[in-house]
Amino acid sequence: MSLLEHLGELFSISAGSKQRVTKKSSGEDWARRLLIALACFWLVVGVVLPLLDVVDRATHIELVVKVEEPTEQEKAEDDFRGQIDIAGHVVLLVREAGKRDVLYIDNKQVEARRGKAEAPGVYVEFSDERIERIVCDLARPDPISQETLPIEPIEIKRTAQQRWQVDDVVMPPEDELVLVKRFIGMANFFDYFGLKGVSQGRTFIALANILLAIALIGFFVFTLIRPSVPFNQSGMLTIAILLILVFQAFGAIDFLTSHMEASGLAQSVWNSLRVGLYTTFISVTLAFLYAYGIHRTRMFGKAFFRIVAMIPLFAPTMLYGLSLVYMFGNKGVITTGFFDYFPWLAWDIHLYGLTGIVIAEVVFTFPPAFMILLVALSNTDARLYEASESLGASKVRTFFTVTIPSIKFGLLSAVFVAFTLSFTDFGAPKVVGGQFNILAVDIYKQVIGQQNFGMGATVSIILLIPTVLAFIADRIVQRRATAVVTARSVPLVPKTSRVRDTFYGIICSLIAAFILLMVFMAGVASLVKIWPYAFTNPEQYPQLWTLKHYLFDDVGGGGYAAFWNSIEMSALTALCGAFITFTSAYLIDKTKGTVWLRRSAYFLSIIPLALPGLVIGIAYIFFFNKTQLSIPFTGITFYNPFNLLYGTMAILVISNIIHFYTVSFLTATTAIRQLDKEFESVAESMAVPFYKTFLRVTVPVCFPAILEIAVFYFVSSMATVSAVIFLYTSENPLASVAVINMDDAGDTAPAAAMCMLIVFANVIVRSLAELVSRRFKRKTQGWRSR
């Protein structure tokens, strides 16, 4: 037996614990395992490690220790004898007239006895015109509760070799500065919510209590819907336990809120939740009506309506904000009654704030909600309706007993998707949010504005929690979603009904008109030379239409450099993303054995769906900017190889691939699973290597799906702003970020112009892909049809 075969025996991985005659692993098996392990590795590096860094930053505080030693010249001519900045305190040693060492702590002279001095939180030892040692105490005792989180003080001392040692690490001689990390637990969260007077331990328990109560309430409601779950059989016991837990939870909430000071920061949480809930309600309702109209009636123009519903996918969310500003802003078309030409039209809806954000988010979340509901409505069996009709049920009753239950999983899924998207969106609120604070904008302000990474990380985690909960709930729902359509189902063909068709025709027309308005209003405005003066004072500003804004002269953001850079980034994302996604999906689905490896890879591939773009962006700043990586609990550090990627195009591409990974991955998996399961077995029995079958059969047959995935990556990368806004650099400007910057600077028209450029680029790419797809389908007609 060869060495490889011996090794194969040693490391043979088999599922199941029972005894089994395991096959020898061939070289091919090892190649596949290696590739799947590689997929796991890249996902861990791209998702897990950066997230851990976010948690790390949110729970640690970084303090600066800076040492300034006097030069020889200063020793000869000057009084300066050394300064150490430590955790915000300044310790200065000066030699004053009379050959005396005088110590200043925080600019106040301090009395010294035998070379030792003290100030609140700082203890200094010095001698012979030199600072020898400083101990800085960081603990902030709470005046009310007297409980403190023990934080290790920072100690800096001079070593025998005349070097400085901070904690246990000796500073290299050239360094003046060192960053020290200290664990502060949930102190950042306390600051954010204005919690005072409670210990971290008790808060933690209180939160766990609340979460447990929520989970159990959810579970209880769930069992009500599905009474077959055995837990609900002992009804009284269930209710009793639940009541106890709910009371406890209320007590915990009361306890926490009583210690909370009204903090403007925490208002964001509530605001974001409101945005999420209102948007979800409106968006899902509209999407349902629209999908119902398309699938269940015989109204006119269905093809047109389908296309219009997809258009918002091509645009960055800032576009809707800008369109709304032009319509409902202070100088908006409708606010001013079309500049007083139609005063009866004037309607001020107080755009900036919740209203504007919700409207923009409704447009943004409409396409995904619509698609999910359309698929759900399509998967019904006409025979159920025939049965209901023949048994004499009214239309209303049929609706509630047949239609709603058959789409309940799609409905829930649409709700979770709409909530997550609107809760975490950054673009539209940035443009049209005004003073209405939401979490996404808070993160941006903390990181870009205040450079407070710890707080940025904290708010990111707060943003993550509802998102992850919604994600988990969606996964649970999906797991329970059983196939409604069986092989014997009959597809539903709607009957004509004048009244109903007209009704839905009108509704869908209104919705479609609104979508088109939202997308193209900004486009129209981008062609107006000076808004609104070209309309209100035509004598002074005679020229109405212009392409000037499309030249991006005299505006920041990067202009066409940013645009083409975005194109490049999106193209790279599309190519690399489609390749990685499809290959990973293939390996995970079609490799036999090594079940735990494949399951881990699958699980890791699903996680990115739970991550908002902002969190990815901020996590990447932390992880990829580090120069050192350390293995926890061992103190071993090594150079961070991924640091090379920071500030390059590569990190933008990687963040985009991760951001949009899950949807692509699931698309790929679905396409692969539609192939005959025995292709691989046939190829195996003929000793054809797996990659040959992959290239000759799998890829060509799945080509339409691969193209879909590539286009999805491209379009999403062009329009996204949340992840890249933290990762772009001046060498790598981006179109979507340029929009934000131009809008910030008040250059609304060029911002709108850039948005339209993004939309055009996406529409062109999509149309090209459609053409390619059609040609491909025609050319391969021979083997596609019967």
């Binding site: 088999s14 005659v21 096959k23 399961k677 077995s681 046939v682 029995s685 000793a687 596609r784 019967r786």
Partner: protein, 376 residues
């Protein structure tokens, strides 16, 4: 691994020994041992869920057995991956590559390093001619009918000259007419090439008409392994007896002496000595519908049952009578028998329903089994 035990000189080309396969707690295969000679065509027959496909997949190497070994050409291949076993497999769904044309599909498995492009094409065309669809060589699978696709799958599996051909329910997706035609085609091709073949099916007519020997399985266990004739004439247990062809079961019997049994108040004689081991014990006695005789003359005076004709079914080439056995003294029992009767006999005897019909059970046609669980 003991080199000596690897080589095994015996008559079987393909052999499985004591194969056991579990899926979790479910035992799919229990100690299956089967030997197939070179060039033989063996069918694995059984009801759904009996483990026949699992057995085929274990032989192929697509599933791993929990214990037992697989031997090909005298070598233990239990631990070899599929690619090293030199098999051709035809699946129920054919699994033809949709984007490659027919001749491309057939060429797929031929070794590229060993044979040049021309040699591969030539071989592929040979195979297509063998299965009779050389005209479709440049079409795509989706343009072919089910039967044609099946033949392409067969050609593809045979093109690399495998030493063993495995067929997993190859005909079950086709309609009846095509199936009958393809049965003889497959057998013809197999005989022409002389390739050792194992075919899994749930259709007994297929198994009995195509195979040299048949493995009958039920619930993961080997029920009988014999030629079709032996299975029909000498089934080894009540399962095989009832599964192959039609069979009458007379359940409430008791062994009487080495030659005869009690059936209610009737005494039935069997082949001499057949009942030796079962005297005084409950047994099941069976007889084929075509073996029950009407009584033409008075010379037959034993093994006679009184019956009443309950229903007459016309089957084209014969009649089947549903009979209800009566007590000798009158009054009906619960025992029913099916009897096949030639058309002429029916007409000459003018048999009608509700008629009393004494029948004779020839002792040499009666089979005896231990009293086991009920057969459906």
């Amino acid at each position: 691994m003991d080199r000596n035990s690897e080589i095994n000189n015996n008559e079987y080309f393909l052999e499985v020994r004591d194969i056991t396969k579990m899926f979790g707690q479910f035992k799919a295969l229990s100690d299956i041992s089967v030997g197939i000679r070179q060039g033989e065509f063996v069918s694995v027959l059984g009801p759904s869920g009996c483990g026949k496909t699992t057995l085929l997949r274990v032989i192929a190497g697509l599933e791993e057995q929990n214990s037992g070994s697989v031997w090909i050409g005298g070598h233990d291949v239990s631990r070899e991956p599929v690619a090293n076993r030199h098999l051709g497999i035809v699946f129920q769904s054919y699994a033809l590559f949709p984007n490659i044309n027919i001749i491309g599909n057939v060429q797929y498995g031929i070794n590229r390093r060993q044979f040049s492009k021309e040699q591969r094409e030539q071989r592929a065309m040979e195979m297509l001619e063998l299965v009779g669809i050389e005209e479709q060589a440049h079409k795509y699978p989706a343009q072919l009918s089910g039967g044609q696709q099946q033949r392409v799958a067969l050609a593809r599996a045979l093109a690399p000259s495998p030493s063993i051909l495995l067929l997993d329910e190859p005909l079950s997706a086709l309609d009846a007419r095509v199936r009958v035609y393809l049965r003889s085609e497959i057998r013809r091709i197999q005989e022409t090439l002389g390739v050792t073949t194992l075919m899994v099916t749930h259709d007994q007519e297929e198994a009995l008409t195509m195979a040299d020997r048949v493995v009958v399985m039920d619930e993961g266990m080997l029920m009988q392994y014999a030629t079709p004739h032996e299975l029909y004439v000498s089934p080894a247990n009540t399962f095989v007896a009832g599964f192959i062809g039609e069979m009458n079961f007379i359940n409430e019997c008791m062994g009487r002496d080495p030659d005869s049994i009690f059936f209610g108040q009737y005494i039935l004689k069997l082949k001499p000595g057949r009942v030796i081991k079962y005297q005084g014990r409950p047994v099941v006695v069976t007889i084929r519908p075509e073996d029950i005789r009407v009584i033409r003359d008075e010379s037959v005076n034993f093994n006679i049952l009184k019956t009443k004709v309950e229903r007459i079914e016309f089957r084209g080439s014969l009649y089947t009578l549903r009979l209800r056995v009566m007590h000798e003294a009158g009054g009906s029992t619960d025992q029913r028998l099916n009897m096949d009767l030639q058309v002429e006999t029916m007409e000459s005897m003018n048999i009608r329903t509700q008629m009393e019909l004494p029948i004779h059970l020839p002792p040499e046609r009666l089979l005896l089994f231990k009293h086991q669980r009920e057969l459906m």
